[in-house]
Amino acid sequence: MSEELEKISDDLTITKRQEAVAVDNRSRNQALLSYWALPSIFLTVALLGGLRVGADDRAFIFFPPPLITLVLAVLLILLFVRGGLIELQLWIAASEPPLRNVSHIWVLLTLFFASAQAFNSVLPERGLLHWLFSFFFLWTLWNNQFSSFDARRLLRSLVVLFGTAFVLKHLLLPSLYGSSGGWLQRLAGVLAQGVSLGTLDAPMFAPATGYISFFALGLYIAGLLVMSFNEQIANSKQ
């Protein structure tokens, strides 16, 4: 009888130890995700979002975020808070340790710059198209401020928004203004320029710019997905 009790007690101890190790690993992995992976992902987006490759000499061109992208990023962050992707009262609170608050503010800051650079990567650099794209982004984000959202819907909506802008900027516009196309394509480009009195002019970059932008946007969406899962885990703990 006593032997059986001892065995049960040993089993319980082992199970408790395994649980403790699992909890320890979980908190370590979550810390790695929150304080290493997320800021690194968002900073990489901030780096690549403004990077272009010159069409002639294949030189790097670093394009800092225009002012409008900062405004768009603010609206997007507000949308993240409204959609529940960022639980602001859980992220930054007087009851939390200072280091945790600082880390969360840092993640928010990196997310802000990544958002600005994600917009920068799909906005035409100058001319009427720059303002048209900016206006449509502004309109969409402003409208979304007043509609009901959850994190999943918001992410889906963002994928569509950035995806459309990417296709327009990196696929449609270069094919319209590219010098390598056929006569019909060139004619369409010249007509578009003529009708708009040259205001639709857009700078041409090497094809690598499109790949960089695609990677940056993919990384940005991946970062948001990771953040959403992380938030769900944190909420389930609460």
Partner: protein, 165 residues
């Protein structure tokens, strides 16, 4: 590793990464090679390619000014060495100097180079080269500035008697 240590290390490493990104956008390197050179300058390990510098000096003494400048520019791609910039400015001066008139474009580029040399030098720059008549960056700058100024003295026919320094 404890989560708090992970948190602190994460903050430090990502802050360094963010600074590197800001530096990239501020310096705007045009290739990976320029990134590497810029990093060497920032780390304080940047050095001029001495072989190319000597080859350029040889060309300069043979009055092959353009070729010399090309060599000096590849010896100092980051434009971070005051002596090299001084010599580049001197090559602009010598090439732009004429008995009747000075080449304004070359003199202006020389002025830019000598200003870079002055800004880079921690103390007044002095180049003890026996083949030069102007040994300090300040003298060279004055000479280049005088060359870019338009005065009534320019129409003086005796001007043709002057000597290149």
């Amino acid at each position: 590793m404890r989560p708090k240590v992970i948190q602190i290390l994460g903050l430090v490493v990502t802050a360094v990464y963010a600074l590197a990104i800001v530096w990239l956008y501020a310096t705007e390197p045009r290739s990976f090679r320029e990134v590497a050179t810029g990093a060497q300058v920032a780390a304080g390990t940047y050095q001029v390619d001495q072989k190319k510098f000597d080859a350029a000096l040889e060309l300069f003494r043979r009055e092959q000014f353009r070729a010399a400048r090309d060599q000096w520019q590849s010896a100092d791609p980051a434009q971070g060495d005051p002596t090299t910039q001084f010599y580049i400015a001197y090559s602009f001066y010598r090439e732009g100097w004429g008995r009747v008139y000075y080449d304004q474009d070359l003199f202006k580029r020389g002025l830019e180079a000598v200003n870079r040399a002055i800004a880079l030098a921690p103390e007044p720059l002095n180049v003890p080269d026996e083949n030069l008549q102007l040994h300090t960056a300040a003298e060279l700058k004055t000479e280049l500035e005088q060359g870019t100024e338009r005065t009534w003295g320019d129409v003086n026919p005796l001007k043709v008697m002057r000597q290149r320094k």
